[in-house]
Symmetry: C2
Subunit: 209 residues, 2 copies
DNA sequence: AGCTTCATGTAATCCGTTACATGATTCC
DNA sequence: GGAATCATGTAACGGATTACATGAAGCT
């Protein structure tokens, strides 16, 4: 339901084309909300039809459309922000899989845990980079946004974005630690299980692989 | 895509009816994966048609169907477990909203943060309770599952489930701390901003509400 | 001339949510 | 007899993913 509000929120920063929104999603913002072009363009049009967005067509050569938020759009965003939302029920692939990792071959389990580790590490880097750019005034969208805001609101606008990205960073750190513990668990289990109580203690033989 | 595997995984524990699966979702398992009956029943039928599940109809009075996993179903599950999955792109409502909380009225922002706090706290309790029941052998589904498994695989089957639920617990704890920091931030911002540099320092007047 | 990037979209399909329908059994 | 729980579903809709289509601008 909230692609709508993700778009409205983004466009309050500064007017943009659908293409640029897609780029933003691919870069920083995509870790807050993500969507492919095939979802962005139709949604933008719907929002424009509903009067929440303004379209400025730029027909000089290119056929591009710059969207900006109307007063009604700003009102709609404010309304959403003021109405409480409950967190959605969890539906995270990795927890489901983790709970049944004993079904996987040990190598596959290890590969999966390492893949998670890599993915969450990468996410952490990106999210920390965004947070830093918010703090040191490098973030282009926030920068634009602040230009249109009275100075006494700069702190809040910045602080909440930093707050959100700090939250994502923490989550990433937590999952990194979690994946590492998973690898340890796997190693521990592999050292013990299929031994029928009387196998020799020659663990040093299985060093490779 | 993984309701399919959630169902297969659950049913490897012990055969069940769609209704019982729904109950499990509402109780413990729902924090790993959740779905309403309207999604469960059709999916079960599809899986049965695909030969991954076995249906035992119990026509004695009730019209109920007990589903169990076939060899093909077990194979399909194993295949999924052995093929790596990348974590899905984030699309979490609360981070999106948090990033733009300056758009909300302070009271609404506070209410929202408190709602998150309450929801994550509740989630933490449930998830910890499940983890405990896994550890002390009270968890009914795991119990059933272990009955059909050789003893030397008990440890792994239990450990991975504990691992998953510990991960969820940590995530919940992290989000609780995050929401609390959000409340502090909000309080801090409310103490300072709209003051045009020469307002009196009589903060004690605003104690109520 | 050909590749990359900019820029916008359609179509099919799938997954998920909400609302509603139905009827049997069990408990009070 | 009436309410709660057991048990299974249908229908409509909306949101998301994947694949494909199109064409201009700019660079090499």
């Amino acid at each position: 339901m909230s692609l709508k509000f993700a778009l409205l929120a983004l466009l309050t920063g500064s007017p943009m084309t659908g293409y640029e929104i897609g780029k933003s999603f691919d870069a920083s913002v995509g870790h807050v909300w993500n969507a492919p072009g095939s979802q962005i363009y139709p949604e933008l049009r719907r929002l424009a039809n509903a009067g929440l967005l303004n379209v400025e067509e730029v027909p000089e050569g290119r056929r591009k459309k710059i969207y900006s938020v109307t007063a009604a759009g700003r009102e709609s965003l404010r309304e959403w922000m003021n109405s409480p939302s409950t967190p959605e029920p969890t539906r995270e692939n990795h927890f489901l899989k983790a709970a049944y990792l004993d079904w996987a071959d040990p190598e596959a389990a290890q590969a999966q845990l390492q893949l998670w580790l890599a993915a969450f590490t990468q996410r952490l880097h990106i999210v920390e980079a965004v947070r830093d750019s918010l703090l040191n005034g490098t973030h282009p969208i926030l920068r634009e946004r602040l230009r249109t805001l009275p100075t006494d609101q700069h702190e809040a606008a910045t602080a909440f974005k930093v707050f959100a990205f700090e939250g994502m960073a923490e989550e990433a750190r937590q999952k990194i630690a979690w994946a590492e513990r998973g690898l340890e668990l796997l190693a521990r289990l592999e050292r013990t299980p299929a031994r029928p109580a009387d196998a020799p203690a020659t663990q040093t033989a299985r060093v490779t692989t």
